[in-house]
Amino acid sequence: MSATTGVYAAEYLAVPAAQKVLFPGADHFVAMPLMLTDAQRDEIKRLSGVRQRSASQAVWRAEQQGVLLGWFIVDEVVGKHEFITYAAALSPQGAVMGIEVLVYRETYGSQIRGETWRKQFVGKRLQEPLILGKDVENISGATLSCKNVTTGVKRLLALQQVALRP
Protein backbone atom coordinates (compact mmCIF):
# COMPACT_ATOMS: atom_id res chain seq x y z
CA MET A 1 0.00 0.00 0.00
CA SER A 2 1.41 3.36 -0.90
CA ALA A 3 0.71 6.75 0.57
CA THR A 4 -2.59 8.09 -0.58
CA THR A 5 -4.38 11.29 0.10
CA GLY A 6 -7.79 10.81 1.51
CA VAL A 7 -8.45 7.26 0.41
CA TYR A 8 -7.78 4.44 2.79
CA ALA A 9 -7.75 0.88 1.45
CA ALA A 10 -7.57 -2.16 3.69
CA GLU A 11 -6.88 -5.40 1.89
CA TYR A 12 -8.26 -8.36 3.76
CA LEU A 13 -8.11 -11.28 1.39
CA ALA A 14 -6.88 -11.98 -2.14
CA VAL A 15 -9.22 -13.99 -4.35
CA PRO A 16 -7.50 -17.41 -3.91
CA ALA A 17 -7.43 -16.99 -0.11
CA ALA A 18 -11.07 -15.93 -0.02
CA GLN A 19 -11.98 -18.97 -2.11
CA LYS A 20 -10.35 -21.26 0.46
CA VAL A 21 -12.05 -19.43 3.34
CA LEU A 22 -15.53 -19.55 1.83
CA PHE A 23 -15.25 -23.06 0.35
CA PRO A 24 -12.79 -24.93 2.60
CA GLY A 25 -13.91 -28.26 1.15
CA ALA A 26 -13.37 -27.37 -2.49
CA ASP A 27 -10.48 -28.88 -4.43
CA HIS A 28 -11.04 -26.96 -7.65
CA PHE A 29 -12.25 -23.50 -8.63
CA VAL A 30 -13.29 -23.22 -12.26
CA ALA A 31 -13.26 -19.64 -13.56
CA MET A 32 -16.52 -18.88 -15.34
CA PRO A 33 -16.43 -15.17 -16.12
CA LEU A 34 -19.92 -14.07 -17.11
CA MET A 35 -20.88 -11.70 -19.87
CA LEU A 36 -24.52 -10.89 -19.32
CA THR A 37 -26.89 -9.96 -22.11
CA ASP A 38 -29.14 -6.90 -21.79
CA ALA A 39 -32.12 -9.23 -21.34
CA GLN A 40 -30.36 -11.01 -18.46
CA ARG A 41 -29.50 -7.71 -16.79
CA ASP A 42 -33.14 -6.60 -17.11
CA GLU A 43 -34.24 -9.88 -15.55
CA ILE A 44 -31.80 -9.44 -12.63
CA LYS A 45 -33.25 -5.97 -12.04
CA ARG A 46 -36.79 -7.36 -12.19
CA LEU A 47 -36.06 -10.17 -9.72
CA SER A 48 -33.96 -8.24 -7.21
CA GLY A 49 -35.00 -4.63 -7.64
CA VAL A 50 -31.30 -3.80 -7.97
CA ARG A 51 -29.67 -2.71 -11.23
CA GLN A 52 -26.88 -4.93 -12.59
CA ARG A 53 -24.57 -2.12 -13.70
CA SER A 54 -21.85 -4.25 -15.21
CA ALA A 55 -22.32 -6.78 -18.00
CA SER A 56 -19.32 -8.75 -16.74
CA GLN A 57 -19.14 -10.57 -13.43
CA ALA A 58 -16.25 -12.61 -11.99
CA VAL A 59 -17.62 -16.05 -11.10
CA TRP A 60 -16.00 -19.37 -10.15
CA ARG A 61 -17.54 -22.82 -9.75
CA ALA A 62 -16.35 -24.32 -6.46
CA GLU A 63 -16.04 -28.06 -6.91
CA GLN A 64 -15.09 -31.07 -4.82
CA GLN A 65 -14.13 -34.06 -6.97
CA GLY A 66 -16.18 -32.63 -9.81
CA VAL A 67 -19.28 -32.01 -7.71
CA LEU A 68 -20.58 -28.44 -7.55
CA LEU A 69 -20.35 -27.06 -3.99
CA GLY A 70 -21.49 -23.58 -4.95
CA TRP A 71 -20.57 -20.35 -6.68
CA PHE A 72 -17.85 -17.95 -5.67
CA ILE A 73 -18.60 -14.45 -6.96
CA VAL A 74 -16.50 -11.30 -6.67
CA ASP A 75 -18.50 -8.09 -6.69
CA GLU A 76 -18.09 -4.38 -6.02
CA VAL A 77 -20.48 -1.93 -4.39
CA VAL A 78 -20.05 1.71 -3.46
CA GLY A 79 -19.61 2.33 0.27
CA LYS A 80 -19.96 5.89 1.46
CA HIS A 81 -17.70 7.21 -1.30
CA GLU A 82 -15.47 4.42 -2.60
CA PHE A 83 -15.81 0.89 -3.94
CA ILE A 84 -15.88 -2.02 -1.54
CA THR A 85 -14.83 -5.34 -3.09
CA TYR A 86 -16.34 -8.42 -1.54
CA ALA A 87 -16.81 -12.10 -2.31
CA ALA A 88 -20.01 -14.04 -1.83
CA ALA A 89 -20.40 -17.80 -1.65
CA LEU A 90 -23.76 -19.01 -2.94
CA SER A 91 -24.98 -22.59 -2.65
CA PRO A 92 -26.32 -24.40 -5.75
CA GLN A 93 -29.78 -24.01 -4.17
CA GLY A 94 -29.42 -20.22 -4.02
CA ALA A 95 -28.57 -19.64 -0.36
CA VAL A 96 -25.85 -17.30 0.89
CA MET A 97 -23.13 -19.45 2.47
CA GLY A 98 -20.79 -16.62 3.42
CA ILE A 99 -19.52 -13.15 2.63
CA GLU A 100 -16.00 -11.79 3.02
CA VAL A 101 -14.86 -8.24 2.36
CA LEU A 102 -11.75 -8.40 0.15
CA VAL A 103 -10.84 -4.72 -0.09
CA TYR A 104 -12.41 -1.94 1.91
CA ARG A 105 -11.82 1.57 0.59
CA GLU A 106 -13.05 4.76 2.10
CA THR A 107 -12.31 8.45 1.91
CA TYR A 108 -11.47 9.93 5.26
CA GLY A 109 -9.93 13.22 4.27
CA SER A 110 -6.68 12.47 6.05
CA GLN A 111 -3.40 10.90 5.02
CA ILE A 112 -3.04 7.29 5.94
CA ARG A 113 -0.04 5.17 5.03
CA GLY A 114 -0.06 1.42 5.24
CA GLU A 115 3.68 0.81 5.21
CA THR A 116 4.55 2.62 8.41
CA TRP A 117 1.71 0.84 10.11
CA ARG A 118 3.13 -2.47 8.99
CA LYS A 119 6.72 -1.73 10.02
CA GLN A 120 5.71 -1.12 13.61
CA PHE A 121 5.66 -4.87 14.13
CA VAL A 122 9.27 -5.53 13.31
CA GLY A 123 11.43 -6.04 16.37
CA LYS A 124 8.78 -5.55 19.01
CA ARG A 125 8.92 -7.85 21.96
CA LEU A 126 5.76 -9.70 22.80
CA GLN A 127 5.76 -8.46 26.37
CA GLU A 128 5.62 -4.88 25.19
CA PRO A 129 2.41 -3.57 23.77
CA LEU A 130 2.56 -3.31 20.02
CA ILE A 131 1.90 0.19 18.86
CA LEU A 132 0.03 0.22 15.62
CA GLY A 133 1.69 3.13 13.89
CA LYS A 134 1.07 6.83 13.86
CA ASP A 135 -1.18 6.65 10.86
CA VAL A 136 -4.62 5.75 11.92
CA GLU A 137 -6.65 3.14 10.15
CA ASN A 138 -9.45 2.73 12.65
CA ILE A 139 -12.07 5.41 12.55
CA SER A 140 -14.81 5.99 15.07
CA GLY A 141 -17.49 8.37 13.93
CA ALA A 142 -20.72 7.97 12.06
CA THR A 143 -21.50 4.30 11.63
CA LEU A 144 -21.26 3.24 8.01
CA SER A 145 -24.20 1.17 6.86
CA CYS A 146 -23.51 -2.13 5.11
CA LYS A 147 -26.81 -2.00 3.23
CA ASN A 148 -25.07 -1.65 -0.16
CA VAL A 149 -23.47 -5.04 0.37
CA THR A 150 -26.84 -6.43 1.43
CA THR A 151 -28.48 -5.20 -1.78
CA GLY A 152 -25.43 -6.36 -3.74
CA VAL A 153 -25.90 -9.89 -2.44
CA LYS A 154 -29.59 -9.71 -3.29
CA ARG A 155 -28.56 -8.83 -6.85
CA LEU A 156 -26.10 -11.75 -6.96
CA LEU A 157 -28.83 -14.18 -5.88
CA ALA A 158 -30.93 -12.97 -8.82
CA LEU A 159 -27.89 -13.23 -11.10
CA GLN A 160 -27.47 -16.83 -10.00
CA GLN A 161 -31.07 -17.61 -10.94
CA VAL A 162 -30.71 -15.91 -14.31
CA ALA A 163 -27.26 -17.02 -15.41
CA LEU A 164 -25.84 -19.77 -13.15
CA ARG A 165 -28.11 -22.77 -13.31
CA PRO A 166 -26.07 -25.86 -12.32
Partner: protein, 286 residues
Protein backbone atom coordinates in the same frame (compact mmCIF):
# COMPACT_ATOMS: atom_id res chain seq x y z
CA UNK B 1 10.91 -13.84 22.09
CA UNK B 2 10.76 -11.85 18.89
CA UNK B 3 7.81 -12.05 16.58
CA UNK B 4 8.56 -13.15 13.05
CA UNK B 5 9.25 -10.33 10.64
CA UNK B 6 6.04 -11.24 8.84
CA UNK B 7 4.04 -10.90 12.05
CA UNK B 8 1.51 -8.67 10.38
CA UNK B 9 -1.88 -8.74 12.01
CA UNK B 10 -4.37 -11.05 10.40
CA UNK B 11 -7.59 -9.25 9.63
CA UNK B 12 -11.03 -10.06 8.33
CA UNK B 13 -14.05 -7.91 7.62
CA UNK B 14 -17.63 -9.01 7.22
CA UNK B 15 -20.94 -7.18 6.98
CA UNK B 16 -22.72 -7.72 10.30
CA UNK B 17 -24.73 -5.71 12.85
CA UNK B 18 -25.87 -3.46 10.00
CA UNK B 19 -22.29 -2.28 9.46
CA UNK B 20 -18.83 -3.63 8.67
CA UNK B 21 -17.14 -5.61 11.43
CA UNK B 22 -13.35 -5.93 11.34
CA UNK B 23 -11.55 -8.46 13.52
CA UNK B 24 -7.78 -8.21 13.88
CA UNK B 25 -5.46 -10.77 15.47
CA UNK B 26 -1.97 -9.56 16.37
CA UNK B 27 -0.52 -13.06 16.50
CA UNK B 28 -1.40 -15.53 13.80
CA UNK B 29 -2.85 -18.68 15.38
CA UNK B 30 -1.02 -21.86 14.36
CA UNK B 31 -2.16 -22.95 10.91
CA UNK B 32 -4.51 -21.22 8.49
CA UNK B 33 -7.44 -23.41 9.38
CA UNK B 34 -7.03 -22.54 13.03
CA UNK B 35 -7.16 -18.83 12.20
CA UNK B 36 -10.27 -19.33 10.11
CA UNK B 37 -11.96 -21.26 12.90
CA UNK B 38 -11.07 -18.43 15.27
CA UNK B 39 -12.57 -15.79 12.99
CA UNK B 40 -15.63 -17.95 12.36
CA UNK B 41 -16.24 -18.40 16.10
CA UNK B 42 -15.99 -14.68 16.78
CA UNK B 43 -18.26 -13.72 13.89
CA UNK B 44 -20.75 -16.41 14.94
CA UNK B 45 -20.81 -14.97 18.47
CA UNK B 46 -21.58 -11.52 17.08
CA UNK B 47 -24.31 -12.87 14.81
CA UNK B 48 -25.88 -14.71 17.75
CA UNK B 49 -26.15 -11.54 19.84
CA UNK B 50 -27.54 -9.65 16.86
CA UNK B 51 -30.14 -12.33 16.10
CA UNK B 52 -31.30 -12.45 19.72
CA UNK B 53 -31.62 -8.71 20.22
CA UNK B 54 -32.71 -7.31 16.87
CA UNK B 55 -35.71 -4.98 17.16
CA UNK B 56 -36.30 -5.23 13.40
CA UNK B 57 -36.42 -9.03 13.25
CA UNK B 58 -40.01 -10.16 13.91
CA UNK B 59 -38.71 -13.47 15.31
CA UNK B 60 -35.92 -12.28 17.63
CA UNK B 61 -36.01 -12.95 21.37
CA UNK B 62 -36.38 -9.23 21.96
CA UNK B 63 -39.41 -9.03 19.65
CA UNK B 64 -41.01 -11.93 21.52
CA UNK B 65 -40.48 -10.06 24.78
CA UNK B 66 -41.94 -6.86 23.32
CA UNK B 67 -45.02 -8.79 22.13
CA UNK B 68 -45.39 -10.76 25.37
CA UNK B 69 -48.29 -8.77 26.90
CA UNK B 70 -46.77 -9.05 30.35
CA UNK B 71 -46.09 -12.78 30.21
CA UNK B 72 -42.63 -14.04 31.25
CA UNK B 73 -40.50 -14.98 28.24
CA UNK B 74 -37.65 -17.46 28.42
CA UNK B 75 -34.52 -15.85 27.04
CA UNK B 76 -30.92 -16.79 26.30
CA UNK B 77 -28.06 -15.94 28.62
CA UNK B 78 -26.79 -13.16 26.35
CA UNK B 79 -30.22 -11.60 25.92
CA UNK B 80 -30.80 -11.57 29.68
CA UNK B 81 -27.36 -10.12 30.31
CA UNK B 82 -27.90 -7.28 27.83
CA UNK B 83 -31.31 -6.57 29.37
CA UNK B 84 -29.72 -6.41 32.84
CA UNK B 85 -27.01 -4.05 31.62
CA UNK B 86 -29.52 -1.88 29.75
CA UNK B 87 -31.83 -1.75 32.77
CA UNK B 88 -28.98 -0.88 35.10
CA UNK B 89 -27.76 1.86 32.75
CA UNK B 90 -31.31 3.22 32.44
CA UNK B 91 -31.55 3.42 36.23
CA UNK B 92 -28.04 4.78 36.76
CA UNK B 93 -28.50 7.63 34.27
CA UNK B 94 -31.97 8.66 35.41
CA UNK B 95 -33.25 7.69 31.99
CA UNK B 96 -30.74 9.62 29.87
CA UNK B 97 -29.88 6.21 28.50
CA UNK B 98 -33.28 4.61 28.24
CA UNK B 99 -33.92 1.15 26.82
CA UNK B 100 -37.71 1.60 27.05
CA UNK B 101 -38.03 4.23 24.31
CA UNK B 102 -39.09 1.68 21.67
CA UNK B 103 -42.69 2.96 21.72
CA UNK B 104 -41.56 6.52 21.00
CA UNK B 105 -39.25 5.31 18.24
CA UNK B 106 -42.12 3.35 16.65
CA UNK B 107 -44.33 6.48 16.82
CA UNK B 108 -41.56 8.46 15.10
CA UNK B 109 -41.28 5.84 12.36
CA UNK B 110 -37.71 4.96 13.35
CA UNK B 111 -38.46 1.38 14.44
CA UNK B 112 -40.95 -1.15 13.04
CA UNK B 113 -44.22 -1.94 14.82
CA UNK B 114 -44.63 -5.69 15.25
CA UNK B 115 -48.12 -5.31 16.76
CA UNK B 116 -49.25 -6.15 20.27
CA UNK B 117 -50.91 -4.09 22.98
CA UNK B 118 -51.22 -0.32 22.95
CA UNK B 119 -47.75 1.02 23.54
CA UNK B 120 -46.36 3.45 26.09
CA UNK B 121 -43.94 5.82 24.34
CA UNK B 122 -41.41 5.48 27.14
CA UNK B 123 -41.08 3.73 30.48
CA UNK B 124 -38.42 3.30 33.14
CA UNK B 125 -36.05 0.67 34.51
CA UNK B 126 -38.72 -0.75 36.82
CA UNK B 127 -40.75 -1.91 33.83
CA UNK B 128 -38.35 -4.81 33.22
CA UNK B 129 -38.37 -7.83 35.49
CA UNK B 130 -35.52 -10.30 35.00
CA UNK B 131 -35.03 -13.74 36.57
CA UNK B 132 -32.31 -16.31 35.98
CA UNK B 133 -34.07 -17.61 32.88
CA UNK B 134 -36.90 -15.24 32.00
CA UNK B 135 -37.73 -11.59 31.40
CA UNK B 136 -41.10 -9.94 31.81
CA UNK B 137 -42.48 -6.46 31.06
CA UNK B 138 -44.65 -4.94 33.78
CA UNK B 139 -46.15 -2.30 31.49
CA UNK B 140 -46.68 -2.25 27.69
CA UNK B 141 -43.33 -0.65 26.87
CA UNK B 142 -41.18 -1.63 23.91
CA UNK B 143 -37.58 -2.41 24.78
CA UNK B 144 -34.83 -1.42 22.39
CA UNK B 145 -31.21 -2.26 23.12
CA UNK B 146 -29.84 -0.74 19.90
CA UNK B 147 -27.80 1.66 22.02
CA UNK B 148 -25.89 -1.08 23.78
CA UNK B 149 -26.08 -4.35 21.83
CA UNK B 150 -23.45 -3.53 19.22
CA UNK B 151 -20.92 -2.83 21.94
CA UNK B 152 -22.00 -5.93 23.83
CA UNK B 153 -21.55 -8.03 20.69
CA UNK B 154 -17.99 -6.69 20.45
CA UNK B 155 -17.34 -7.69 24.08
CA UNK B 156 -18.70 -11.18 23.50
CA UNK B 157 -16.55 -11.58 20.41
CA UNK B 158 -13.46 -10.47 22.37
CA UNK B 159 -14.25 -13.13 25.01
CA UNK B 160 -14.65 -15.67 22.22
CA UNK B 161 -11.27 -14.75 20.73
CA UNK B 162 -9.62 -15.05 24.14
CA UNK B 163 -11.26 -18.43 24.71
CA UNK B 164 -9.73 -19.50 21.37
CA UNK B 165 -6.29 -18.57 22.67
CA UNK B 166 -5.92 -15.15 21.04
CA UNK B 167 -3.88 -12.94 23.35
CA UNK B 168 -3.99 -9.61 21.53
CA UNK B 169 -6.24 -8.11 18.92
CA UNK B 170 -9.10 -5.79 18.21
CA UNK B 171 -12.63 -5.63 16.92
CA UNK B 172 -14.06 -2.65 15.08
CA UNK B 173 -17.83 -2.86 14.58
CA UNK B 174 -18.53 0.20 12.49
CA UNK B 175 -16.65 2.51 14.83
CA UNK B 176 -17.33 0.69 18.10
CA UNK B 177 -13.75 -0.45 18.66
CA UNK B 178 -12.21 -2.57 21.41
CA UNK B 179 -8.52 -3.41 21.67
CA UNK B 180 -7.34 -6.15 24.01
CA UNK B 181 -4.06 -7.70 25.07
CA UNK B 182 -0.63 -6.23 24.48
CA UNK B 183 -1.61 -3.83 21.78
CA UNK B 184 -1.95 -0.09 21.42
CA UNK B 185 -4.48 0.69 18.71
CA UNK B 186 -4.79 4.24 17.42
CA UNK B 187 -8.29 5.33 16.52
CA UNK B 188 -9.36 8.59 14.97
CA UNK B 189 -12.59 9.88 16.50
CA UNK B 190 -14.08 11.99 13.77
CA UNK B 191 -16.38 14.87 14.55
CA UNK B 192 -18.19 17.19 12.23
CA UNK B 193 -16.55 19.96 10.23
CA UNK B 194 -13.37 17.93 9.92
CA UNK B 195 -12.60 17.91 13.64
CA UNK B 196 -10.91 14.76 14.83
CA UNK B 197 -9.39 13.50 18.06
CA UNK B 198 -6.81 10.72 17.97
CA UNK B 199 -6.96 8.24 20.83
CA UNK B 200 -4.86 5.17 21.56
CA UNK B 201 -6.70 2.17 22.88
CA UNK B 202 -4.86 -0.11 25.27
CA UNK B 203 -7.20 -2.69 26.79
CA UNK B 204 -9.96 -0.18 26.16
CA UNK B 205 -12.94 0.60 23.94
CA UNK B 206 -14.24 3.62 22.11
CA UNK B 207 -17.70 4.17 20.65
CA UNK B 208 -19.24 7.03 18.73
CA UNK B 209 -22.76 8.14 17.98
CA UNK B 210 -23.93 10.58 15.40
CA UNK B 211 -27.47 11.88 15.52
CA UNK B 212 -29.57 14.47 13.79
CA UNK B 213 -30.03 15.83 10.32
CA UNK B 214 -26.48 15.13 9.22
CA UNK B 215 -26.42 11.55 10.42
CA UNK B 216 -25.76 8.84 7.84
CA UNK B 217 -29.04 8.42 6.00
CA UNK B 218 -28.50 4.68 5.99
CA UNK B 219 -28.70 4.49 9.74
CA UNK B 220 -31.29 5.12 12.38
CA UNK B 221 -29.15 7.81 13.94
CA UNK B 222 -31.70 9.33 16.24
CA UNK B 223 -31.31 10.11 19.93
CA UNK B 224 -34.38 11.59 21.62
CA UNK B 225 -34.43 13.77 24.71
CA UNK B 226 -37.37 12.28 26.57
CA UNK B 227 -38.02 15.45 28.55
CA UNK B 228 -38.42 17.71 25.51
CA UNK B 229 -39.49 14.79 23.26
CA UNK B 230 -37.07 16.27 20.70
CA UNK B 231 -34.17 14.61 18.92
CA UNK B 232 -30.71 16.00 19.57
CA UNK B 233 -28.03 16.58 16.93
CA UNK B 234 -24.30 16.11 17.04
CA UNK B 235 -21.46 13.63 17.45
CA UNK B 236 -20.04 12.10 20.57
CA UNK B 237 -17.19 9.64 21.20
CA UNK B 238 -16.67 7.93 24.55
CA UNK B 239 -13.86 5.77 25.96
CA UNK B 240 -14.52 2.96 28.44
CA UNK B 241 -13.07 -0.44 29.24
CA UNK B 242 -15.97 -2.48 27.87
CA UNK B 243 -17.48 -1.76 24.48
CA UNK B 244 -21.07 -2.10 25.74
CA UNK B 245 -20.47 0.67 28.25
CA UNK B 246 -18.76 2.97 25.73
CA UNK B 247 -21.66 2.34 23.34
CA UNK B 248 -24.32 3.15 25.95
CA UNK B 249 -22.45 6.19 27.27
CA UNK B 250 -22.41 7.89 23.86
CA UNK B 251 -26.18 8.35 24.33
CA UNK B 252 -25.60 9.72 27.83
CA UNK B 253 -22.96 12.08 26.43
CA UNK B 254 -25.45 13.22 23.79
CA UNK B 255 -28.16 14.02 26.31
CA UNK B 256 -26.27 15.09 29.43
CA UNK B 257 -25.37 18.56 28.19
CA UNK B 258 -21.98 20.23 28.65
CA UNK B 259 -22.45 21.14 32.32
CA UNK B 260 -23.13 17.60 33.50
CA UNK B 261 -21.40 15.50 30.89
CA UNK B 262 -17.89 15.06 32.22
CA UNK B 263 -18.87 14.28 35.80
CA UNK B 264 -21.72 11.99 34.85
CA UNK B 265 -19.59 9.98 32.44
CA UNK B 266 -16.75 9.77 34.92
CA UNK B 267 -19.14 8.39 37.55
CA UNK B 268 -20.33 5.79 35.05
CA UNK B 269 -16.85 4.66 33.99
CA UNK B 270 -16.48 6.59 30.75
CA UNK B 271 -14.61 9.53 29.30
CA UNK B 272 -15.90 11.75 26.53
CA UNK B 273 -13.28 12.56 23.87
CA UNK B 274 -15.53 14.16 21.27
CA UNK B 275 -18.59 16.17 22.26
CA UNK B 276 -20.14 18.16 19.47
CA UNK B 277 -23.60 19.38 20.30
CA UNK B 278 -24.78 20.83 17.04
CA UNK B 279 -26.16 24.09 18.43
CA UNK B 280 -22.78 24.95 19.89
CA UNK B 281 -20.13 22.82 18.23
CA UNK B 282 -17.27 21.92 20.54
CA UNK B 283 -14.63 19.28 20.29
CA UNK B 284 -12.26 18.64 23.16
CA UNK B 285 -9.31 16.35 23.35
CA UNK B 286 -9.12 14.55 26.67
Amino acid sequence: MMPKSDAVPLRRMRPLLGTFVEIGLVERPAGTHCAERTFAAAYAAIAKVHDALSFHDPHSELTRLNASKGQPIRMSVHALRVLRLARAMTAATGGLFNCTVGGAMIARGRLPDHGGDSVLPVGDADDIEISATHACLRRPVRITVDGIAKGYAVDVAVSTLRAQGVESGWINAGGDVRAFGELVLPVLCVGQNGNAVRVELYDCSVASSEAGARADAGHDGEIIDMHSQQPVSGRWSVLSHHAWRADALTKVAALAGPAMRERLLSNLGGRCVVAEDVDSVRASAA
